[in-house]
């Protein structure tokens, strides 16, 4: 579907990306920032999956009774890998947030800035 010359799906992903970016830069709470980062990541993944699809195509699994059109398998492999990377970074960030809270007693950036 194309609207104002822009593919609606890509438009939606830009909106999702920016919602995540907004959460990352404007929210003071570290957990909220991290959620924002995850929303941004998912938006990029969605962009990848969508760029690899073909209208009316089957998943890239060539068993009997499928075809003749198949979705591109490379973006799927990239997104699978990307999901693992995303959860890895998130886990490390969360472990750091727990430490920050144990030390400073807050996870609000506005409050952390004033502390030594």
């Amino acid at each position: 579907m194309v609207l104002f010359g822009v593919d609606v799906d890509y438009l939606a992903f830009v909106v999702l990306f920016c919602v995540g970016l907004y959460m990352l830069v404007r929210k003071s709470n570290l957990l909220k920032k991290l959620l924002g980062l995850n929303v941004m990541e998912t938006a990029v993944f969605a962009f990848l999956v969508t760029s690899g699809m073909i209208e009316g195509a089957d998943p890239p699994i060539r068993t009997a009774g499928t075809g003749p059109l198949f979705a591109n398998p490379i973006p799927h492999a990239m997104v699978l890998t990307g999901i693992v990377v995303a959860v890895s970074v998130t886990a490390v960030a969360l472990a750091l947030i727990v430490q920050i809270h144990a030390h400073y007693g807050t996870i609000e950036v506005d409050e952390l800035k004033g502390l030594p």
Binding site: L30, L37, H103
Partner: protein, 496 residues
């Protein structure tokens, strides 16, 4: 069947990474054994890298097709003249790891040593993978290995302040990684390929599109964050100053260089796809010049020696970026040589500073007055490093900065030449300040008066590196001659 040298290139990446997976197993018996094991792994990696560099000189660039799939259908690793910087890279790790053996005692709890050594090896493997791969998505993954291990290494010494510095680093670093992933996705959507030369060829064949320019621009911004280029440097000082000193040496000397390697890749991509990045070269020059002056200026006001060295890194990244942006052959060659030279000097300085901090427990210039009398060897190494980073002949810093300056004047960019001179002046001021405190003031703290030289496992690497600062300076011509053939491929990006 003879085994081709080129097909051993993947082992440069695999050896340290598989070694990292083994470190926790080795450490189960004795945490110290992990240190020895890590040292052996870095040693083997460095030996392979040096052997490959020799092959490179003899028979030209080596290309490995992982899994036997020829590009663009598989992942390609290229060991070329730019990729050869992985040899000094691995050698630095060979020196940093023994330094860490004794340094960790008393600074990092014993039950975290295994994690520390594993993270160091992961960092090394990621750095090598990032420098050698010719595949966009592989580049992203190697970058994530480097970044993730760097975030953890900053926090490894464990107080909450370190965690906060690490998290700031992580948040900015993740945005930068996400930009890279987005750019990779865009380039893939445009060309259907991930292999760098193939992507460039297909972009060149297609009609010029804003999407391709956007992809290159977001790659450039992302790598500028990783390189801590001036307005995007905010994460660097805290993270590099708070980390344990061996980690600071690695982060400040080596990890920021992935940003530079990334920028070089963007330049290659732009050059061979014919996408004119009109503002790109100008922007690099302006930001580089500002970074030189601002980094050096901010360093003057630091009392904490590690914070001072961290700001000096921002300034030196400015030199490299300015050199790349100038686009004159001398300047680009100087910049590429400075990547290695700055790594050498900064590792020397951070390890020497780490020795001083480790032996005295103090880290500000005010507290460290007179330390030159009680730690003469370590401070001599620090002095050599300082002379090298100011760029006085005959040290390693001289030749690269000289060529960047020469490039600026030969390109008619006199203003940038003066930025360089100003930067050097500030750098001179803050190192004179340091040397003054070390040698010409009387100790005010009894820790300084009672300090003794560190054990040989720490002193050895520091003295060796300090000597290397001079030797590399004397042999600087060889480095330039080695890198010159690679410069030609980069130039059209800026000239166009």
């Amino acid at each position: 069947m003879t085994i081709a040298w080129s097909q051993t290139v993947p082992y440069l990446v695999v050896l340290p990474l598989a070694g990292a997976a083994l470190v926790p197993i080795v450490a189960r018996r004795d945490a110290r054994a992990a240190g020895g094991f890590t040292f052996v792994v870095t040693l083997v990696t460095a030996a392979l890298a040096i052997a490959l560099t020799v092959r490179l000189v003899v028979e030209g660039p080596l290309t490995a097709h992982v899994g036997g799939w020829v590009a663009p259908y598989g992942i390609e690793l290229r060991f070329d003249r730019l990729g050869a910087w992985t040899a000094p890279l691995a050698v630095f790790f060979v020196l940093v790891v023994p330094f860490a053996w004794r340094y960790l005692e008393g600074t990092v709890p014993r039950d975290r040593w295994a994690a520390f050594y594993a993270l160091m090896l992961l960092n090394l493997g990621g750095l090598i993978g990032f420098s050698l791969t010719a595949d966009l998505f592989n580049l992203f993954l190697a970058m994530e290995v480097v970044s993730l291990s760097s975030y953890a290494l900053v926090a490894v010494a464990g107080r909450g302040t370190a965690a906060w510095a690490a998290l700031k680093y992580l948040l900015l670093g993740s945005v930068s990684s996400l930009l890279v992933l987005f750019a990779v996705a865009l380039l893939f959507a445009l060309t259907g390929s991930l292999n760098l030369p193939d992507v460039a060829a297909r972009l060149a064949a297609a009609e010029p599109s804003p999407a391709a320019t956007l992809a290159l621009a977001s790659l450039a911004v992302a790598f500028a964050v990783k390189a801590a280029l001036f307005p995007l440097h905010v994460w660097l000082p805290d993270a590099h100053a708070i980390a344990p000193s061996p980690v600071s040496a690695v982060l400040s000397g080596l990890v920021v260089k992935i940003g530079i390697v990334g920028l070089v890749r963007v330049m290659e991509l732009a050059a061979s796809s014919g996408i004119a990045l009109d503002l790109f070269g100008e922007l690099l020059m302006v930001l580089g010049a500002v970074a030189i002056v601002m980094g050096a200026f901010l360093a003057i006001f630091q009392d904490d020696i590690k914070l001072m060295l961290a700001y000096s890194t921002i300034s030196n990244i400015g030199y490299i970026v300015l050199g790349l942006g100038l686009g004159a052959p001398f300047a680009v060659a100087g910049a590429l040589v400075h990547v290695v030279n700055h790594a050498l000097i900064k590792v020397t300085l951070f390890l020497a500073a780490g020795s001083i901090i480790h032996q005295t427990g103090l880290r500000t210039l005010t507290d460290l007055r007179g330390v030159g009398r009680t730690l003469p060897q370590t401070c001599a190494a620090m002095t050599l490093g300082a002379i090298a980073i100011v760029g006085l002949p005959p040290t390693a810093g001289f030749i690269s900065k000289w060529y960047i300056g020469l490039g600026a004047f030969s390109a008619g960019r006199v203003a940038y030449g003066f930025a360089l001179v100003f930067g050097a002046l500030f750098v001179f001021i803050y190192y004179v300040r340091m040397l003054n405190a070390f040698y010409f003031r009387t100790p005010t703290r009894e820790e300084v008066a009672a300090a003794v030289e560190p054990p040989w496992s720490m002193r050895g690497p520091v003295l060796f590196l300090a000597a290397a600062c001079v030797i590399v300076g004397l042999l600087g011509g060889f480095l330039l001659a080695f890198i010159m053939p690679a410069v030609g491929d980069l130039l059209p990006a800026i000239r166009s």
